[in-house]
């Protein structure tokens, strides 16, 4: 069971309190009607699924209820950092180095 720092509560809590909501920074197109079928499929379904550092969305569903983002190493499952929703995506490459890959 992972231990996750909630950037809003400022404390580490067990994974049980959280819900993982998949890859982060996949914004819903501002004007969906202007997208092609390919683009819509990409938004809905295509995922990076990296072996290494992933930026993903978590929700502290049984805590403060907020969504936030995290960088996590999918090989060790270690969290490298958490940041609030709306903050820019950190460079995963930099964290890849720190994670040793």
């Amino acid at each position: 069971m992972l231990l996750i720092q909630c950037p809003y509560c400022g404390v580490e809590r067990p994974e049980l309190e959280f819900s993982c909501r998949g890859e982060a920074h996949i914004a819903r197109p501002a004007d969906p009607s202007a997208t092609t079928d390919e683009q819509w499929a990409e938004y809905l379904y295509l995922r990076t699924n990296p072996k290494g550092v992933i930026a993903e969305r978590w929700r502290h569903i049984h805590g403060c209820g907020r969504f936030f983002n995290a960088l996590r190493d999918t090989v060790s499952d270690k969290f490298l950092m958490v940041y609030k929703a709306g903050e820019p995506k950190p460079d995963p490459a930099q964290f890849s180095k720190e994670a040793g890959r």
Binding site: Y8, C9, G10, E17, C64
Partner: protein, 191 residues
Amino acid sequence: MADILTSELYSADSSQAPLLVLPDVTIMPAAPAARVSLRCRETGLALAAKAFGTPIPQTPLTAETAANRAAFWLGPDEWMLVAPESQLAAILSDLETHLDAVPHSVVDISHRQDAVLVSGPRAGWLLNTGVPIDLHESAFAVGTVTRTLFHKTPIMLWRTGPDSFVVEAWGSFMDYVTGLLVQSAEELKAA
């Protein structure tokens, strides 16, 4: 440290029997209370404080209390305000009046959840049979309030003293919470 619950906010419900009475831990159903979910941005906090009569806490996981009032930080834009049951209507209207000019949401959730009072030297131990967070005073000081889980059910937990806690759960989950607590306390009866 004495219990910070000096008001009538969370008192044992005299109409209900205690759920558990042991030398080391007791569980009492709490009397009904007025509960209000307050949602707003920073612009509303001072206004809400004025309306409600306590500051609206901005430090995560803390509560502000006054006579017959408690305001719990539950999230960065979410608070639960608690007061005696009889004052609900007045509180709702005061809040709406004061917050009229700013975006906000005030919702009555008085009946959504029930509370029980868990206290005694083994209260923390008993809660940890289902609560996955560290309840040691160094990690969960008196006054801390949080939502978390009790085994498979969401709860709200407020520590009111070194050995006393308020546990709130949605109404239909309370039997599960108290049932498990009472069952887990069974071993305390053994020699």
